[in-house]
Amino acid sequence: MASETLTSSEYIRHHLQNLTFGHLPNGSWGAAQTADQAREMGFWALNLDTFFVSFILGALFLFIFRKAAKGATAGVPSGLQNFAEWVVEFIESSVRGSFSGKNDLIAPLALTIFFWIFLMNWMDLIPVDYLHVLANAAGLPFFKSVPTTDPNATFGMSIGVFLLVLYYSVKVKGVGGFIGELTLQPFGKFGLPFNLFLEGVNLISKPVSLALRLFGNMYAGEMIFILIALLPFWLQWTLSLPWAIFHILIVTLQAFIFMTLTIVYLDMAHQEHH
Protein backbone atom coordinates (compact mmCIF):
# COMPACT_ATOMS: atom_id res chain seq x y z
CA MET A 1 0.00 0.00 0.00
CA ALA A 2 1.15 3.45 -0.75
CA SER A 3 2.56 5.23 2.21
CA GLU A 4 0.99 8.60 2.79
CA THR A 5 4.09 10.63 2.12
CA LEU A 6 4.48 9.22 -1.38
CA THR A 7 2.38 9.88 -4.41
CA SER A 8 1.34 6.92 -6.50
CA SER A 9 3.85 7.53 -9.25
CA GLU A 10 6.64 8.00 -6.73
CA TYR A 11 5.62 4.76 -5.07
CA ILE A 12 5.72 2.93 -8.37
CA ARG A 13 9.03 4.44 -9.38
CA HIS A 14 10.48 3.63 -6.02
CA HIS A 15 9.47 0.02 -6.43
CA LEU A 16 10.95 -0.26 -9.88
CA GLN A 17 14.37 1.11 -9.01
CA ASN A 18 17.21 -1.29 -8.34
CA LEU A 19 19.60 -0.87 -5.48
CA THR A 20 22.54 0.28 -7.56
CA PHE A 21 26.05 0.41 -6.20
CA GLY A 22 28.58 2.47 -8.06
CA HIS A 23 30.54 5.67 -8.39
CA LEU A 24 28.56 8.53 -6.84
CA PRO A 25 28.76 12.05 -8.32
CA ASN A 26 30.63 13.31 -5.28
CA GLY A 27 33.47 10.94 -6.13
CA SER A 28 32.88 8.26 -3.52
CA TRP A 29 31.55 4.71 -3.99
CA GLY A 30 28.14 3.84 -2.64
CA ALA A 31 24.52 3.03 -3.30
CA ALA A 32 22.58 5.45 -5.48
CA GLN A 33 20.02 7.38 -3.46
CA THR A 34 17.94 8.42 -6.45
CA ALA A 35 17.10 6.99 -9.85
CA ASP A 36 19.05 9.78 -11.53
CA GLN A 37 22.15 8.96 -9.54
CA ALA A 38 21.80 5.31 -10.52
CA ARG A 39 21.54 6.29 -14.19
CA GLU A 40 24.58 8.51 -14.00
CA MET A 41 26.71 5.69 -12.63
CA GLY A 42 26.92 4.32 -16.16
CA PHE A 43 27.96 0.78 -16.95
CA TRP A 44 30.33 0.18 -14.07
CA ALA A 45 27.71 -0.17 -11.40
CA LEU A 46 26.20 -3.18 -9.75
CA ASN A 47 22.56 -3.85 -8.94
CA LEU A 48 23.14 -5.25 -5.48
CA ASP A 49 19.56 -6.44 -4.97
CA THR A 50 19.47 -8.41 -8.22
CA PHE A 51 22.88 -9.81 -7.54
CA PHE A 52 22.17 -10.68 -3.93
CA VAL A 53 18.72 -12.24 -4.39
CA SER A 54 19.66 -14.22 -7.49
CA PHE A 55 22.77 -15.51 -5.76
CA ILE A 56 20.82 -16.57 -2.66
CA LEU A 57 18.22 -18.34 -4.80
CA GLY A 58 20.76 -20.04 -7.03
CA ALA A 59 22.72 -21.14 -3.99
CA LEU A 60 19.52 -22.39 -2.38
CA PHE A 61 18.68 -24.41 -5.47
CA LEU A 62 22.16 -25.89 -5.63
CA PHE A 63 22.21 -26.54 -1.89
CA ILE A 64 18.94 -28.47 -1.98
CA PHE A 65 19.87 -30.47 -5.04
CA ARG A 66 23.40 -31.08 -3.82
CA LYS A 67 21.92 -32.46 -0.61
CA ALA A 68 19.65 -34.73 -2.63
CA ALA A 69 22.57 -35.76 -4.84
CA LYS A 70 24.78 -36.57 -1.86
CA GLY A 71 22.12 -38.75 -0.29
CA ALA A 72 21.10 -40.33 -3.58
CA THR A 73 20.91 -44.09 -3.37
CA ALA A 74 19.70 -46.72 -5.75
CA GLY A 75 17.54 -48.05 -2.93
CA VAL A 76 14.24 -46.68 -1.71
CA PRO A 77 14.48 -42.89 -2.21
CA SER A 78 13.70 -40.44 0.59
CA GLY A 79 11.32 -37.51 0.19
CA LEU A 80 13.92 -35.01 -0.96
CA GLN A 81 15.48 -37.50 -3.33
CA ASN A 82 12.06 -38.29 -4.71
CA PHE A 83 11.49 -34.63 -5.41
CA ALA A 84 14.92 -34.20 -7.02
CA GLU A 85 14.41 -37.26 -9.14
CA TRP A 86 11.01 -36.08 -10.20
CA VAL A 87 12.51 -32.77 -11.36
CA VAL A 88 15.46 -34.48 -13.00
CA GLU A 89 13.17 -36.84 -14.84
CA PHE A 90 11.03 -33.94 -16.03
CA ILE A 91 14.12 -32.08 -17.28
CA GLU A 92 15.50 -35.20 -18.89
CA SER A 93 12.31 -35.88 -20.80
CA SER A 94 12.26 -32.24 -21.96
CA VAL A 95 15.85 -32.52 -23.15
CA ARG A 96 15.21 -35.83 -24.84
CA GLY A 97 12.21 -34.33 -26.60
CA SER A 98 14.02 -31.33 -28.07
CA PHE A 99 17.71 -32.19 -28.19
CA SER A 100 18.76 -34.79 -30.73
CA GLY A 101 22.52 -34.85 -30.15
CA LYS A 102 24.47 -36.10 -27.22
CA ASN A 103 25.91 -33.58 -24.79
CA ASP A 104 26.24 -34.03 -21.05
CA LEU A 105 26.07 -30.28 -20.51
CA ILE A 106 22.55 -29.75 -21.82
CA ALA A 107 20.52 -31.47 -19.11
CA PRO A 108 22.28 -29.89 -16.09
CA LEU A 109 22.17 -26.57 -17.90
CA ALA A 110 18.44 -26.96 -18.45
CA LEU A 111 17.92 -27.94 -14.81
CA THR A 112 19.86 -24.93 -13.57
CA ILE A 113 18.05 -22.55 -15.89
CA PHE A 114 14.64 -23.90 -15.05
CA PHE A 115 15.04 -23.96 -11.31
CA TRP A 116 16.96 -20.77 -10.94
CA ILE A 117 14.49 -18.80 -13.06
CA PHE A 118 11.61 -20.54 -11.35
CA LEU A 119 12.86 -19.45 -7.92
CA MET A 120 13.67 -15.93 -9.09
CA ASN A 121 10.21 -15.59 -10.66
CA TRP A 122 8.70 -16.98 -7.52
CA MET A 123 9.93 -13.92 -5.64
CA ASP A 124 7.19 -12.10 -7.53
CA LEU A 125 4.59 -13.87 -5.40
CA ILE A 126 5.98 -12.41 -2.20
CA PRO A 127 3.78 -9.38 -1.52
CA VAL A 128 5.51 -6.41 -3.17
CA ASP A 129 6.02 -4.40 -0.01
CA TYR A 130 7.48 -7.02 2.30
CA LEU A 131 11.10 -7.14 1.24
CA HIS A 132 10.94 -3.56 0.07
CA VAL A 133 9.88 -2.23 3.48
CA LEU A 134 12.35 -4.53 5.22
CA ALA A 135 15.20 -3.22 3.08
CA ASN A 136 14.15 0.38 3.60
CA ALA A 137 14.05 -0.22 7.33
CA ALA A 138 17.59 -1.58 7.04
CA GLY A 139 18.62 1.73 5.47
CA LEU A 140 18.74 0.69 1.82
CA PRO A 141 17.25 3.33 -0.47
CA PHE A 142 15.80 0.84 -2.97
CA PHE A 143 15.15 -2.84 -3.14
CA LYS A 144 13.72 -4.80 -6.04
CA SER A 145 13.14 -8.34 -4.88
CA VAL A 146 12.50 -10.07 -8.23
CA PRO A 147 15.80 -10.49 -10.11
CA THR A 148 14.07 -11.45 -13.36
CA THR A 149 12.46 -8.00 -13.51
CA ASP A 150 15.96 -6.65 -13.97
CA PRO A 151 17.09 -7.00 -17.61
CA ASN A 152 20.64 -7.43 -16.36
CA ALA A 153 19.69 -10.80 -14.88
CA THR A 154 17.77 -12.04 -17.90
CA PHE A 155 20.34 -10.79 -20.38
CA GLY A 156 23.08 -12.22 -18.17
CA MET A 157 21.60 -15.66 -18.59
CA SER A 158 20.73 -15.32 -22.24
CA ILE A 159 24.25 -14.13 -23.01
CA GLY A 160 25.54 -17.23 -21.24
CA VAL A 161 23.28 -19.33 -23.44
CA PHE A 162 24.35 -17.32 -26.51
CA LEU A 163 28.02 -17.98 -25.79
CA LEU A 164 27.25 -21.68 -25.53
CA VAL A 165 25.38 -21.53 -28.86
CA LEU A 166 28.40 -19.87 -30.50
CA TYR A 167 30.83 -22.32 -28.88
CA TYR A 168 28.95 -25.42 -29.95
CA SER A 169 28.22 -24.04 -33.42
CA VAL A 170 31.95 -23.61 -33.99
CA LYS A 171 32.83 -26.86 -32.23
CA VAL A 172 30.39 -29.02 -34.18
CA LYS A 173 30.53 -27.33 -37.59
CA GLY A 174 33.97 -25.81 -37.48
CA VAL A 175 34.69 -22.11 -38.02
CA GLY A 176 34.19 -22.49 -41.78
CA GLY A 177 30.99 -24.42 -41.35
CA PHE A 178 29.56 -21.84 -38.98
CA ILE A 179 30.52 -18.92 -41.21
CA GLY A 180 29.13 -20.83 -44.15
CA GLU A 181 25.88 -21.31 -42.33
CA LEU A 182 25.70 -17.58 -41.68
CA THR A 183 26.55 -16.49 -45.22
CA LEU A 184 25.61 -19.18 -47.76
CA GLN A 185 21.95 -19.65 -46.99
CA PRO A 186 19.18 -19.30 -47.79
CA PHE A 187 20.09 -17.67 -51.15
CA GLY A 188 23.43 -19.23 -52.09
CA LYS A 189 26.73 -17.42 -52.39
CA PHE A 190 25.45 -14.64 -54.67
CA GLY A 191 23.10 -13.39 -52.01
CA LEU A 192 25.87 -13.25 -49.44
CA PRO A 193 25.23 -9.84 -47.82
CA PHE A 194 21.56 -10.51 -47.61
CA ASN A 195 22.18 -13.97 -46.20
CA LEU A 196 24.53 -12.57 -43.59
CA PHE A 197 21.98 -9.98 -42.58
CA LEU A 198 19.18 -12.52 -42.36
CA GLU A 199 21.14 -15.15 -40.47
CA GLY A 200 22.78 -12.50 -38.30
CA VAL A 201 19.39 -11.20 -37.21
CA ASN A 202 18.29 -14.78 -36.70
CA LEU A 203 21.29 -15.47 -34.49
CA ILE A 204 21.16 -12.25 -32.48
CA SER A 205 17.42 -12.54 -31.98
CA LYS A 206 17.93 -15.72 -29.96
CA PRO A 207 19.47 -14.22 -26.81
CA VAL A 208 17.51 -11.01 -27.19
CA SER A 209 14.16 -12.76 -27.41
CA LEU A 210 15.09 -15.13 -24.57
CA ALA A 211 15.98 -12.28 -22.25
CA LEU A 212 13.23 -9.86 -23.26
CA ARG A 213 10.46 -12.44 -23.10
CA LEU A 214 11.32 -13.35 -19.53
CA PHE A 215 11.99 -9.77 -18.49
CA GLY A 216 8.83 -8.48 -20.12
CA ASN A 217 6.58 -11.05 -18.54
CA MET A 218 7.99 -10.67 -15.07
CA TYR A 219 8.23 -6.89 -15.26
CA ALA A 220 4.62 -6.63 -16.37
CA GLY A 221 3.53 -9.02 -13.65
CA GLU A 222 5.43 -7.10 -11.01
CA MET A 223 4.00 -3.85 -12.33
CA ILE A 224 0.46 -5.12 -11.97
CA PHE A 225 1.16 -6.25 -8.41
CA ILE A 226 2.48 -2.77 -7.65
CA LEU A 227 -0.61 -1.17 -9.20
CA ILE A 228 -2.85 -3.48 -7.17
CA ALA A 229 -0.90 -2.44 -4.08
CA LEU A 230 -2.09 1.14 -4.68
CA LEU A 231 -5.66 0.11 -3.89
CA PRO A 232 -7.01 0.39 -0.35
CA PHE A 233 -5.73 -2.57 1.65
CA TRP A 234 -9.20 -4.16 2.12
CA LEU A 235 -9.78 -4.24 -1.62
CA GLN A 236 -6.40 -5.50 -2.73
CA TRP A 237 -7.08 -9.20 -2.31
CA THR A 238 -9.93 -9.12 -4.85
CA LEU A 239 -7.37 -8.42 -7.56
CA SER A 240 -4.09 -9.62 -6.14
CA LEU A 241 -5.37 -13.09 -5.33
CA PRO A 242 -6.58 -13.92 -8.88
CA TRP A 243 -3.48 -12.29 -10.33
CA ALA A 244 -1.21 -14.23 -7.98
CA ILE A 245 -2.91 -17.50 -8.86
CA PHE A 246 -2.57 -16.68 -12.54
CA HIS A 247 1.01 -15.66 -11.90
CA ILE A 248 1.87 -19.10 -10.53
CA LEU A 249 1.25 -20.29 -14.08
CA ILE A 250 3.34 -17.51 -15.61
CA VAL A 251 6.20 -18.07 -13.17
CA THR A 252 6.42 -21.73 -14.11
CA LEU A 253 5.68 -21.20 -17.76
CA GLN A 254 8.38 -18.55 -18.25
CA ALA A 255 10.98 -20.73 -16.54
CA PHE A 256 9.90 -23.63 -18.73
CA ILE A 257 9.95 -21.55 -21.93
CA PHE A 258 13.42 -20.20 -21.19
CA MET A 259 14.66 -23.73 -20.57
CA THR A 260 13.00 -25.26 -23.63
CA LEU A 261 14.20 -22.51 -25.96
CA THR A 262 17.72 -22.87 -24.60
CA ILE A 263 17.59 -26.58 -25.38
CA VAL A 264 16.19 -25.89 -28.85
CA TYR A 265 18.82 -23.24 -29.64
CA LEU A 266 21.61 -25.52 -28.52
CA ASP A 267 20.08 -28.33 -30.55
CA MET A 268 20.16 -26.06 -33.61
CA ALA A 269 23.77 -25.24 -32.83
CA HIS A 270 24.55 -28.96 -32.89
CA GLN A 271 22.81 -29.66 -36.15
CA GLU A 272 24.37 -29.38 -39.54
CA HIS A 273 21.44 -28.56 -41.75
CA HIS A 274 21.79 -27.96 -45.49
Binding site: F43, R66, A69, A72, Q81, T112, N152, L163
Partner: protein
Protein backbone atom coordinates in the same frame (compact mmCIF):
# COMPACT_ATOMS: atom_id res chain seq x y z
CA UNK B 1 16.59 -0.65 -14.99
CA UNK B 2 19.92 0.38 -16.42
CA UNK B 3 22.14 -2.11 -18.15
CA UNK B 4 25.33 -2.18 -16.15
CA UNK B 5 28.02 -4.48 -14.82
CA UNK B 6 25.35 -6.60 -13.15
CA UNK B 7 25.03 -8.15 -16.59
CA UNK B 8 28.56 -9.50 -16.40
CA UNK B 9 28.13 -10.56 -12.81
CA UNK B 10 24.95 -12.42 -13.64
CA UNK B 11 26.59 -14.16 -16.59
CA UNK B 12 29.50 -15.27 -14.43
CA UNK B 13 27.13 -16.42 -11.70
CA UNK B 14 25.08 -18.29 -14.26
CA UNK B 15 28.14 -20.07 -15.64
CA UNK B 16 29.26 -21.00 -12.13
CA UNK B 17 25.87 -22.36 -11.17
CA UNK B 18 25.65 -24.42 -14.35
CA UNK B 19 29.16 -25.73 -13.81
CA UNK B 20 28.38 -26.72 -10.22
CA UNK B 21 25.13 -28.36 -11.24
CA UNK B 22 26.84 -30.29 -14.01
CA UNK B 23 29.70 -31.38 -11.79
CA UNK B 24 28.14 -32.13 -8.43
CA UNK B 25 24.37 -32.33 -8.76
CA UNK B 26 23.34 -33.97 -11.98
CA UNK B 27 25.61 -37.04 -12.15
CA UNK B 28 24.89 -38.48 -8.65
CA UNK B 29 21.14 -38.19 -9.11
CA UNK B 30 21.03 -39.67 -12.58
CA UNK B 31 23.50 -42.38 -11.58
CA UNK B 32 21.33 -43.38 -8.63
CA UNK B 33 18.29 -43.40 -10.90
CA UNK B 34 20.05 -45.48 -13.52
CA UNK B 35 21.28 -47.93 -10.93
CA UNK B 36 17.83 -48.24 -9.44
CA UNK B 37 16.36 -48.84 -12.90
CA UNK B 38 18.93 -51.60 -13.40
CA UNK B 39 18.14 -53.10 -10.03
CA UNK B 40 14.43 -53.11 -10.74
CA UNK B 41 15.04 -54.70 -14.12
CA UNK B 42 17.22 -57.35 -12.45
CA UNK B 43 14.55 -57.92 -9.83
CA UNK B 44 11.89 -58.35 -12.45
CA UNK B 45 14.08 -60.76 -14.39
CA UNK B 46 14.78 -62.71 -11.20
CA UNK B 47 11.07 -62.80 -10.49
CA UNK B 48 10.39 -64.12 -13.96
CA UNK B 49 13.09 -66.74 -13.54
CA UNK B 50 11.68 -67.70 -10.15
CA UNK B 51 8.27 -68.12 -11.69
CA UNK B 52 9.48 -70.46 -14.40
CA UNK B 53 11.46 -72.37 -11.79
CA UNK B 54 8.36 -72.65 -9.67
CA UNK B 55 6.44 -73.97 -12.67
CA UNK B 56 9.14 -76.54 -13.31
CA UNK B 57 9.23 -77.53 -9.65
CA UNK B 58 5.45 -77.88 -9.58
CA UNK B 59 5.58 -80.09 -12.63
CA UNK B 60 8.36 -82.18 -11.12
CA UNK B 61 6.58 -82.50 -7.80
CA UNK B 62 3.47 -83.68 -9.61
CA UNK B 63 5.53 -86.26 -11.43
CA UNK B 64 7.15 -87.44 -8.21
CA UNK B 65 3.77 -87.63 -6.53
CA UNK B 66 2.43 -89.66 -9.41
CA UNK B 67 5.41 -92.01 -9.22
CA UNK B 68 5.05 -92.35 -5.47
CA UNK B 69 1.40 -93.21 -5.86
CA UNK B 70 2.27 -95.86 -8.40
CA UNK B 71 4.93 -97.30 -6.16
CA UNK B 72 2.61 -97.28 -3.19
CA UNK B 73 0.00 -99.14 -5.23
CA UNK B 74 2.63 -101.66 -6.23
CA UNK B 75 3.77 -102.15 -2.65
CA UNK B 76 0.20 -102.56 -1.50
CA UNK B 77 -0.44 -105.14 -4.19
CA UNK B 78 2.73 -107.00 -3.25
CA UNK B 79 1.86 -106.86 0.42
CA UNK B 80 -1.61 -108.17 -0.31
CA UNK B 81 -0.33 -111.10 -2.31
CA UNK B 82 2.30 -111.80 0.31
CA UNK B 83 -0.35 -111.69 3.03
CA UNK B 84 -2.52 -114.15 1.10
CA UNK B 85 0.50 -116.35 0.67
CA UNK B 86 1.29 -116.20 4.38
CA UNK B 87 -2.29 -117.01 5.25
CA UNK B 88 -2.22 -119.97 2.89
CA UNK B 89 1.05 -121.18 4.33
CA UNK B 90 -0.29 -120.79 7.84
CA UNK B 91 -3.39 -122.72 6.91
CA UNK B 92 -1.31 -125.51 5.42
CA UNK B 93 1.03 -125.71 8.39
CA UNK B 94 -1.91 -125.60 10.79
CA UNK B 95 -3.55 -128.44 8.95
CA UNK B 96 -0.31 -130.41 9.06
CA UNK B 97 0.14 -129.70 12.74
CA UNK B 98 -3.43 -130.70 13.41
CA UNK B 99 -2.95 -133.95 11.55
CA UNK B 100 0.25 -134.62 13.41
CA UNK B 101 -1.44 -133.97 16.75
CA UNK B 102 -4.37 -136.11 15.70
CA UNK B 103 -2.06 -138.96 14.71
CA UNK B 104 -0.15 -138.66 17.99
CA UNK B 105 -3.39 -138.73 19.93
CA UNK B 106 -4.60 -141.72 17.94
CA UNK B 107 -1.36 -143.60 18.63
CA UNK B 108 -1.58 -142.77 22.29
CA UNK B 109 -5.19 -143.88 22.42
CA UNK B 110 -4.24 -147.13 20.74
CA UNK B 111 -1.45 -147.63 23.20
CA UNK B 112 -3.81 -146.86 26.06
CA UNK B 113 -6.31 -149.30 24.62
CA UNK B 114 -3.58 -151.88 24.27
CA UNK B 115 -2.38 -151.26 27.78
CA UNK B 116 -5.92 -151.43 29.15
CA UNK B 117 -6.52 -154.60 27.27
CA UNK B 118 -3.35 -156.10 28.75
CA UNK B 119 -4.37 -155.03 32.23
CA UNK B 120 -7.87 -156.32 31.61
CA UNK B 121 -6.45 -159.62 30.35
CA UNK B 122 -4.33 -159.96 33.48
CA UNK B 123 -7.32 -159.17 35.65
CA UNK B 124 -9.59 -161.55 33.74
CA UNK B 125 -6.92 -164.22 34.00
CA UNK B 126 -6.57 -163.55 37.67
CA UNK B 127 -10.36 -163.57 38.01
CA UNK B 128 -10.54 -166.81 36.04
CA UNK B 129 -7.84 -168.31 38.16
CA UNK B 130 -9.53 -167.11 41.28
CA UNK B 131 -12.84 -168.50 40.07
CA UNK B 132 -11.22 -171.72 39.14
CA UNK B 133 -9.50 -171.79 42.44
CA UNK B 134 -12.81 -171.28 44.23
CA UNK B 135 -14.35 -174.05 42.22
CA UNK B 136 -11.50 -176.38 42.53
CA UNK B 137 -10.39 -175.29 45.98
CA UNK B 138 -9.01 -178.54 46.92
CA UNK B 139 -8.09 -180.35 43.81
CA UNK B 140 -6.16 -177.61 42.38
CA UNK B 141 -2.72 -177.17 43.66
CA UNK B 142 -1.37 -173.95 42.62
CA UNK B 143 2.06 -175.20 42.25
CA UNK B 144 0.99 -178.27 40.32
CA UNK B 145 -1.12 -176.50 37.87
CA UNK B 146 0.82 -173.42 37.48
CA UNK B 147 1.73 -174.40 33.97
CA UNK B 148 -1.88 -175.08 33.13
CA UNK B 149 -2.92 -171.83 34.63
CA UNK B 150 -0.32 -169.97 32.67
CA UNK B 151 -1.50 -171.44 29.39
CA UNK B 152 -5.08 -170.47 30.23
CA UNK B 153 -3.91 -167.04 31.11
CA UNK B 154 -2.16 -166.59 27.74
CA UNK B 155 -5.23 -167.89 25.87
CA UNK B 156 -7.44 -165.31 27.41
Amino acid sequence: MNINATLLGQTIMFVMFVWFCMKFVWPPITNAMGERAKRIADGLAAGERGKTELDLATKRSLEILHEAKQKAAEVIAQAESRAAQIVDEAKASAREEGERLLNGAKAEIEQEVFRAREALRDQVAALAVAGAEKILRHEVDAAKHAELLKSIQSEL
